[in-house]
Amino acid sequence: MGVVFVMGHSSHAGRWVAVFAVAFCAAALLLPFVGPFGLDLERVRARQEPDWSILVQLRVSRTLLGLFAGGALSLAGTLFQAMLSDALATPYTLGISAGASLGAVVAIWLGWQQVAGIPAIWVASLAGAAMVLALVVGSALQQRRVSSFSLLLSGLAANSVCSALIIVIYGLVSTTKSFSITRWLIGSVDSVDYSALSGFVAVVVLAAAVVMRQARSWNLMAVDPSWAATRGARVTRLTLSGYGAGSLLTAATVALTGPIGFVGLVVPHLIRTRIGADHRVLMPCAFLGGGVLLAGCDAIGRVVIAPSEIPAGAVMAILGGPYLVWVLRQRSPL
């Protein structure tokens, strides 16, 4: 195993983060050229149509969305696993993603288009995520402390309730709307316009910065909240900012891509087993690696059954599931 205790040396961290950063940039530069329609470099350089438009309008924005969406989900997974000391915690187990989905489905059902100039689906997703978070955290709150066990249980409950409501709404709507709900629920990375993309990237970068700044404290929380408290961390403040930032990362992503599972589970686990659990290294690597993985899966999904497409989330599950099981089998049993 490649894990060696380096006593918190910055060089070790720097090396791995640099490797992942290079992969992230390489993916941003190369993946736009992958697709069912082969782009001609000469024509792109001469800005000839349709190559130039396909690259800039479709593929670049789609690749960037994949990179930042994958990063956001993977970082949120890492964060929730640390906060709940639970290897299976993801934005999905906490119900946040289901809440965001329910919000979006309600927006489609009621035919909302825009709220204050912002697409209604985004606003509704954020509202749904916030509502579920408040319900889940509120019900798990006892004496100003959050019990991670009741949090996971109420998260699962919220998940089931939201899924059931989505099914009910699905039965109520017309065929056209049910088609767009289905399409949305599959979860995929699609081209978005640049104003939406830049807003999304800004939110993700901001929330990620808030989370990563506290990486030392997440190390303590990953052991135990009382371990963190007796080492001088402000646990209540940490918990609130963690749930806030984690939900924002999840909801912003789900609003643009629909629910994409698994990236928040598979990436943190792979990096933890290969590089180590120190969140100062794990968090930036999980963000960059999650982005590369989702954008990569999207690129694969674009070409394997072209001209049809496989949604990125499906590619991720098909490839990532067996790989995760294989990696876990490599480790010695406890």
Binding site: G8, S10, N219, A222, V223, S226, A229, G232, R272
Partner: protein, 255 residues
Amino acid sequence: MSIRLQIVDVAWHVNGRPVLSSVSLDIREREVAVVMGRNGAGKSTLLDIVAGLRQPTGGDVRLNDRPAAAWDPRDRARLVAHLPQAVRPDLPFLAGELVLMGRYPHTDRWFESDEDRLAVERAMRRTDCWDLRDRLVQTLSGGERQRVLLAACFAQAPQLLLLDEPSTHLDIDQQLHCFSLLREESARGAACLAVTHDLNLALTYATRLIVLAQGRVALDVPVEEAVRAPDWLALFSPRLSLCTTPSGRPWVSYS
């Protein structure tokens, strides 16, 4: 540096059932105070309250004449370390990383300094676990893990050590080593408040014996006093008696 821990009339109720009622203790530097009592006597609860992990339902905890709750968490963590009864066994961290976390309240740097790493090495060598530094905590045996947790407390360089059964899972030799380390800590001016079930370890290494029974302090005396009048053994079991070893040490035996 001096340390004073005052526990004044502390009570802890859970669903109306009193676990601790009106517990008062005053502990100062150079003491190794051992808290004993039967299962469910409230020993760990008392330690948790002193560590700030539970708010007492009544009474006060004061550290160096200031209410414990008024301390800044980091200042307090530089003063007080807490050894938990257990951590989850599947921790993904290396043993050395766990000990390094003891340096958290001492630095604001993103990565620890050489001084921090030195403190970690010293602490791990003291508890005989430096060789385990590159091992994942989840692969350690119970006793090895206990030594790593103890090292994490020492790396924190506290003035007050709260230890919840520090000798669990340790072999006899390591149990003796563990308690002699507590004596070393008290010799440098720290205070130790340790929960244990081992009466002989307590009689050998403690300076002060505290027995909790029915949520109250049933006994709080210097060890010499406890040896002179051993009636308190009845609080644990009617089958205990105090005798003297050939080398003249007090020894609790059972019939």
